[in-house]
């Protein structure tokens, strides 16, 4: 007996990915999808320009696209909706869904930094869901919103969390090399990125600088305290299809050797609850000792696109430790990450059927 779910904004590329992944999910089953006025009222297969490869899942191809309104019939407690809405539509609709009692698991950036909205990665800060009752009380909502971080923040964050726990963390400098799929479709013109790098992604530097402070912060008695770290970021677009690579230097609580840093990574165990989540990879963190790894094309699919691959760990003469990390931006960094968040919420009892 699967948990019925809806997908808001199901016709865009992130929405397509949600449907593709949910079509084979052991716990969830898509029963409702929404789209823009242009597509609402038509079968999904007619309304969508399917661009992510593979075929439209048979189970949703003939679902009628509904308008994005909190009147979707989703028979769960609370009804669960994955949101692939663009930023502005998320601002308009996600609070209405939450007010109407839906659990909204969103990939949008809109409410990521809102203090009572959990910005959630199960391997990093699973206890931040303790903000949910605060959020419901603050807004007088029966439902709630839980957000996933930016795809590039995601690549950088897990080693920072591990080093924070092991050694303390004071500052992080992040330079990313991000894939074109991060811009959706049609996204980046080939005329711009062929034989080129674009050192700019709108709003991305700020996300890279802000989100780690929340992800690495603490929640006590339903209140969030941001981590007291300094951050600085530069996001770059490179001619790569999938996989966001992050070059990170960190100032730690004390000087450590490269060996100590690697040992911390190797000794890390994901929070115990992660073992109970069906799509959690067996090894969420893959450490590669080779000097030329991680690489986007070779490492983005590790753990079915849900693992972090980390390498090039060494001391830094300006800060303390540097490393490079990669995750798959449209899987861990978007749809798969949000689904994993929903699985966590099920296990924690926030969502049932």
């Amino acid at each position: 007996m699967k948990i019925p779910v809806g997908v808001l904004g199901a016709t865009g590329t992130v929405g397509q990915r949600f449907l593709q992944l949910l079509a084979v999910h052991p716990w969830f089953e898509v029963v409702a999808i929404t789209g823009s006025e242009r597509t609402a009222g038509r079968p999904y297969r007619e309304g969508v320009n399917w661009v992510i490869g593979g075929e439209i899942p048979a189970a949703v191809a003939d679902l009628i696209v509904q308008p994005t309104q909190p009147t979707l019939a989703i028979n769960g407690r609370p009804p669960l909706a994955f949101s692939a809405l663009p930023t502005n539509e998320a601002r308009e609709w996600e609070p209405q869904f939450a007010a109407a009692g839906y659990a909204v698991i969103t990939n949008a950036s809109t409410f990521r930094m809102t203090p009572d909205v959990p910005l959630l990665i199960p391997e990093v800060n699973p206890t931040h869901t303790a903000l949910i009752p605060t959020q419901q009380a603050n807004n007088n909502w029966r439902g709630f919103i839980v957000a996933s971080p930016n795809c590039s923040t995601t690549s950088a964050i897990l080693p920072l969390k591990i080093f924070q726990d092991a050694f303390g963390l004071q500052a992080a400098m992040i330079v990313t090399l991000q894939a074109i799929s991060g811009a959706g479709y049609p996204g980046v013109p080939a005329m711009d990125i062929t034989d080129n790098v674009i050192p700019y992604i709108s709003g991305e530097d700020a996300k890279l600088e802000n989100e780690p402070k929340k992800l690495l912060g603490t929640v006590n008695q339903g209140q969030l305290t941001l981590a007291n770290i300094q951050t600085s970021a530069q996001a770059n677009r490179v001619p790569v299809l999938d996989g966001h690579l992050a070059s990170v230097s960190a100032r730690l609580g004390r000087r450590v050797t490269a060996e100590e840093a690697v040992e911390a990574l190797l000794n890390w165990q994901p929070p115990a609850i992660c073992r109970e989540l069906p799509t959690s990879p067996e090894k969420p963190l893959v450490y590669r000792p080779e000097p030329d790894r991680p690489q986007p094309r070779l490492d983005r699919d590790a753990g079915q696109g849900l693992a972090w691959t980390v390498g090039k760990v060494r001391t830094c003469d300006v800060l303390d430790i540097r490393y490079m990390a990669i995750t798959h931006n449209t899987l861990r960094g978007a749809a798969s990450g949000a689904i994993l968040n929903a699985e966590l919420l099920v296990k924690q009892g926030f969502i049932g059927n």
Copy 2:
């Protein structure tokens, strides 16, 4: 009456570029070229696999390739030789040429960090040629060696120099996005770099960390003092043909605003002697205020490939100021840069005809 010059290692890609540039140079004229045993004794057009585009310059196509030995007939005072030798051959031959009285202007990394060898960029440290008499005295040479920096160091260095002069400089963190032409030919396999980034270039991180200390150091009474700065670097190969992009953060002598930093760049004037060098670009530093510049394909050819293009200047919460800079790696970062060094040495009286 042009100054006769030789080119050592003229069949490789850097050697080809030297010949292409020198074919139209107002001061220099190639009269001798050397190559490996395989090519020595044959006309250049037969020995070379010309891969850099355009045609083999007519003036050298029929020159006989000579073995790399300090017996080349170059009728200058001192005889001037541009070296495009690989590292190991440079180690063997460049000192022999210097001992035999040749002025060796080299692109090889071999002697870059040798204390009495000038590591030279006319716009950055033209007075470092004062090391030449020291070098000659130390080695009992009639000739000398002058080195060009690594192509990726070159991209990062000019704004660091300007900030050092304006505000003081304590540390620099450099992450590069480097073009495939930097690896020569055949160089990087397409199987490795298509839809990918390689976060590794052998030896490059160390060059990026060491060379700025020398370029930004001081020469007093023929003795070099390295700059007292901390450095940290991560070199990446990206699917771009030409142009090395550097993302740099710097800790300065004091906190400055982005406006002050930009003003320092805009107010900078190249050393006066640069105005007398025929291939020096009119504007060695191009500042771009757009948020998405510099870009390799759009900016690498600024100033005939001899200018730095700098942008994205802003404050950094971890250090003080960040920016991005690019130069053309096979022009400013290799052959053109070395030729500009030779022009400087002519103007300073180290080379004549």
Copy 3:
């Protein structure tokens, strides 16, 4: 005393290229530019999203963009307008300009196959301008329209013309590998073309099959007769920035050897009048004997982007002779080709000042 010209649709990528090329043209001077309602009334520099590299030419940066209407003040006899209008706008406006007395040199596909509109390449069919009086009489126009062929047709056509003249021509099979710049800006999404080929360009196969019949046809007493040849085409988009490569097989009037075919190419002389056109390349046809040429990146810029590079000439067991040819699609295949047409019209007396 230059001939004043206008550019219709000056804000798109072809329009930008016209302005860039005309800014340094020895005969023509841009005095009027038109754009969409969105841009009309503002200085060009404000209305354009300049994407073709380099800077906006100073001479036009402050020209006020006018609406596309045949009331432009261009003081020539007849007033000369280069059209970079999209197909539909060309259908609406180009006849109105011709009716109002303007000479319209267009890059649009709209009227290419109209029997009394010259489809013109100076090296191929310069006498087809004899259709102009017919066109004027048929339409009761004081001005006229002259069209340039499709950029991919252009790549294939010159050797076909030479073989037609030398041996007779019965059929041509054309497969193209076309650059992304042919789709304008933003044009092809990077998500579509990275690590991929798209075997489809809307309408292109038909253009490749129809236009050669007109270009290789004859004009007698002001009437066009299409060439009696069979054609078949397949257009492909490949991840290349500029340069359309065509693989062509032709059935000739008789069996010929590869040597005879090459000799015909080498012996070909452009029509005498081409020597009098200032931007005509010294060698409009570059024959490359190497087995791996022509290549887009190495050969697209031959003759300042106005030359054909041809190679791989050999016999074909199915038809008679095969070869590959390339031209630069945004230069010879678009703006430069149209400007060359205008130069021809000046020399032939159709345009003056």
Copy 4:
């Protein structure tokens, strides 16, 4: 009880692919691998530079690489060896293995056109294995050699076979757009193929012109008759990782409509024996009606890389019918295709255990 197999030349890219595929094969089990003198005597994991992605299969990682000599202990009747040897080594060793009683299933081009060596694709010419007794008699061999076609021939051939059976076939013109992985590793330099097409692959045009005549020929009483068709080919390398795309025009036995041609494709059934081969895809031929398919990145993995994807079927004014087809060059076009051949030979009784 699996059939034990050896892999000759197991350290190259095709050899790596053989090992990767055989590691999960239901019928075959690798028990012996050979390599060059440099690697022989060491565990595979130490001798190989594993470049094809994923990890070295555990089952072979510690196998000792043996020299390529027909003394391998493979306990089958006959002992089965997959050959990934380069052309020259294949010429030396494959006959020695066949003479010594091994069944050699080779991917090398060396003996493809030898009249008594089956050039085999199960879906196209499964009965050509009737040449094996002839081969054994001619050479006095106990074993035999069976060859796979060139990867680009493979892409083009299946629709030709279907049309030959349905309508008759007189001629085929083939232009390919081939992936870089076809050149192995390091293979194509990124400096050559970035922003470029190379219209040349050594020996490929001849293979494309010769192999179809054999694949579409007939075997009667152990004797091969080549198909009486004219062929002409042009092979191009494009910046795509995997997947060889072929643009084909065919002259048929009679004029047919596009609908008839498509119907022939849709009605085609693979030979019955293909249904019994474990890695044969459920649908060996995928017909795509969209105007922009097939595309390498979207279609190369159809049927686990073993299916043909065909589209753009339409009439051709020069010949009769044109289409485009793609297969995955390192799977169907190399290792997977050879394994499928071995499966066929098992089912036909030429190989057992």
